[in-house]
């Protein structure tokens, strides 16, 4: 570990950093929402980015990846805007399968209106 020869200096730095993080936290509570608005609410109501493995023969979409992983997303918030498909229930997890896909499928995340996936099944 790289430390200064004068231990006092290390203590001063620790105290200043703790003070800074405390001030940042106060600012976060008081004006944090302002930044959320400035970033167009992107981080308040973020659309998930879901990667699917597509099986055209079995007409199944399997969830391959979800971002951000730290947040829970729900199948209830996703609608099949076009085509027919059977969505799973509860939270969106890797390995979940959308079955009976038919026609031109378009999955939309209702909270933001973002398109999650588009594709055509014969």
């Amino acid at each position: 570990m790289g430390l200064n020869k004068e231990p006092k200096n290390n203590i001063k730095i620790i105290l200043l950093i703790i003070l800074t993080l405390f001030i940042l936290y106060i600012l976060h509570i008081s004006i944090g929402s302002y930044f959320g608005v400035e970033s167009e609410g992107k981080y308040d109501n973020e659309s998930p980015e879901i990667g699917f493995q597509v099986d055209y023969l079995s007409k199944i979409l399997t969830v391959d990846s979800i971002y951000p992983e730290s947040k829970d997303f729900y199948w209830n918030d996703i609608t099949v805007a076009s085509g027919n498909a059977t969505l799973p229930y509860d939270t969106i997890d890797k390995g979940d399968q959308i079955t009976n896909c038919e026609g031109e499928i378009k999955l939309v995340y209702e909270l933001t209106g973002a398109t999650i996936w588009e594709g055509e099944f014969s």
Binding site: G2, N9, I13, S39, Y43
Partner: protein, 135 residues
Amino acid sequence: MKFFFEDRPKFTMNPLILILSIIQAVMLLQMYIFGSGQSYISDITQFFQTGMPNPSACGVLFTVWTIVLALYWAKIVKSPKLSTIMAIIFVYFGTMITIGFPDFGLNWPTSVHILEAYIGYGYIYESIIKKYKLW
């Protein structure tokens, strides 16, 4: 123009923190590149258009800067000016994200920004304390 940081900060930039930062930054970066690359370019573009940090921009810039800081600490890169500029940028990113993000930058992947704030502010405090013998 004289810069503050001609002595390499020892406490703020100790090897443990630098290694931890590099690991976390690289993980963040690879997640964006190999995990969900769809928003990667648009997030970078958005950062330069709006100035508001976002995860992709932070992932790339934090990785590069942390590695350069590590090289500076190891005396491979010998540019106090470059490391000073990077420390100021770390302060900017650390401040904006800890204040602006809903989770105070505590949850993955935004937890990387607590490290940014730590390195950025710590670097500046340490340099000022040593140079001016404050306190």
